[in-house]
């Protein structure tokens, strides 16, 4: 999958970290670091994170056809 977070929008509510702890990490109080290219197997977790974000900062999509990593 491919993931991008609008970090202008992100306000470190950290809901993504509970939803998908292997793919989103807070370093410090507000510095969100995330996996931009999680395995397809993580789809359910990532989608939970997308839905959990109260400021809707996360966008995710499946790997484009023919470009799976």
């Amino acid at each position: 999958m491919k993931v991008v977070v609008d970090l202008n929008r992100c306000q470190a509510y950290a809901q993504c970290i509970y939803a998908a702890p292997r793919h989103f990490v807070l370093q410090g109080r507000e510095a969100l670091v995330y996996d931009p290219s999680p395995d397809e197997a993580a789809r359910a977790e990532i989608e939970r994170a997308v839905q959990a974000c109260p400021v809707r900062a996360i966008t995710a999509s499946p790997d484009p056809a023919g470009e799976t990593k």
């Binding site: 991008v4 202008n8 992100c10 306000q11 109080r29 507000e30 290219s37 484009p64 990593k69």
Partner: protein
């Protein structure tokens, strides 16, 4: 050729396949455009996100693959690894480096910028001298950082330089930062907060040198061994990263008749590209780092805003206007500039433009805590707000800045400290 708006487009070409180009493509499909859509990119990579390159990618956290999400129904043709070489406004075609020609009904120019190269080309080509803009740059530099260099020297007082310095400290690599003029980050944050970031960097072990410049680089067998500063001091280092700004990718537009130079491609508030005489070029638009446009939040001053958020917002406005029929209202690009930076465990955010600010107040928190919101005023108006680890306050102040609220905008809230107006 008629200056009147043309009919509904069937072929749209987007030159530039990075954040602005891809955002425009998504917005065009989102607005219902069902015709042929082609994105041209000089890099061989599919559109990818750049901000992580100076941070987590360099540090080796998570995947280095920052390819941006694409909607499964985007249905765009990507011409990657083929830079555009020229534009013919009369023929309405773009020529590519591989000799092919693409006709368009609407064109978006989103070719962005590249890293400003180190000015001395013999030094720039040394093994160990880097710039950081692209995925390939990050991959190479990341590999060299893993090898455990004796010291990294960063040239430049901007955000990328400080983010790389922070990453080096995370990896326990000795690092020297050379800032030629003023305080670090001064252009974006002003001297006061820039100075604070410099202080934080020093606490985290960065050897920060203000007013410092490289006189020459030294090498053995083509490999960098150190630098000598103006003044004569020698610093042993295996890596120099030149983070000295960006150059706009306008060369391919030479001779096309557009108002384009090193300052960017001039367009109006609706992202419509202008000719040298100020006339609107029918059906040609610009967005992202390359666009220079009248900013309503800075008295219509012509600015190019080289930020992630602007690239997305401007691409959206351009896409909408590319599809607007002759009778439809155009969308004004009125995005309030914003950006973020992560360094030394802190998140720095800014909304608005601090240029010309004459006053500053700390509205929440304190500099000592390294957690605060600072507001910038210019001639009695609130023009910008910066936060460190206090992002939740920013949207409220962004609204005040949009309204050109008096400075300071809120001065009697019960949860605020007593405001003291200072120099920025």
């Amino acid at each position: 050729m008629s200056e009147a708006p043309s009919g509904a487009p069937e072929r749209i070409v987007v030159v530039g396949a990075s954040l602005a180009g891809l955002s425009a493509a998504h917005a065009l499909r989102g607005e219902g455009f069902a015709g042929s859509l082609t994105l041209v990119g000089d890099e061989r990579h599919a559109p990818y996100d750049r901000p992580p390159l100076s941070k987590q990618v360099l540090r080796g956290l998570f995947s280095p693959d920052t390819t941006l999400p694409r909607h499964p129904d985007l249905n765009a043709e990507f011409r990657l690894g083929t830079p555009a070489s020229s534009l013919d406004l009369d023929a309405r075609t773009v020529s590519l480096g591989d000799g092919t020609t693409l006709p368009y009904d609407r064109l978006l120019i989103a070719t962005g910028t590249r890293a400003r190269p180190w000015p001395k080309s013999d030094e720039a080509s040394l093994d160990g001298v880097f710039t950081l803009r692209n995925r390939d740059d990050a991959t190479k530099l990341s590999g060299r950082l893993k090898a455990g260099p004796r010291r990294v020297v960063l040239v430049g007082g901007g955000f990328i330089g400080f983010e790389v310095a922070s990453t080096c400290r995370d990896l326990d690599i000795p690092v020297t930062v050379l800032v030629r003029d003023g305080q670090p980050l001064e252009a974006a944050l002003g001297p006061r907060l820039g100075g604070l970031v410099g202080e934080i960097a020093r606490e985290r072990g960065v050897d920060l040198r203000l007013g410092a410049e490289i006189e020459r680089m030294e090498a053995e067998g083509g490999r960098l061994t150190g630098v000598t500063l103006k003044g004569g001091e020698r610093i042993e280092a295996d890596i120099v990263v030149a983070a000295i700004g960006a150059v706009r990718n306008v060369e391919w537009l030479e001779g096309a008749g557009l108002a384009a130079d090193e300052g960017g491609v001039l367009c109006d508030g609706y992202c419509r590209v202008l000719r040298q005489n100020g006339d609107i070029v029918p059906d040609v638009f610009a967005a992202g780092d390359i666009a220079r446009w009248p900013n309503p939040h800075q008295d219509e001053a012509l600015v190019a805003v080289e930020h992630w958020g602007n690239a997305r917002a401007q691409a959206k406005a351009a896409a909408r206007n590319m599809l607007a029929g002759p009778a439809a209202g155009l969308a004004r690009h009125d995005h309030l500039p914003d950006f973020w930076s992560q360094q030394f465990g802190l998140t720095i955010k800014l909304v608005g433009l601090t240029e010309g600010a004459d006053s500053l107040v700390i509205a929440h928190g304190s500099l000592e805590e390294r957690r605060f919101v600072a507001l910038y005023g210019r001639e009695g108006r609130t023009v910008a707000a910066a936060s460190i680890d206090s992002a939740r306050w920013l949207p409220a102040y962004a609204a005040a800045i949009r309204e050109r609220a008096p400075f300071p905008p809120i001065s009697d809230a019960v949860d605020q400290p007593r405001l003291r107006i200072e120099e920025p």
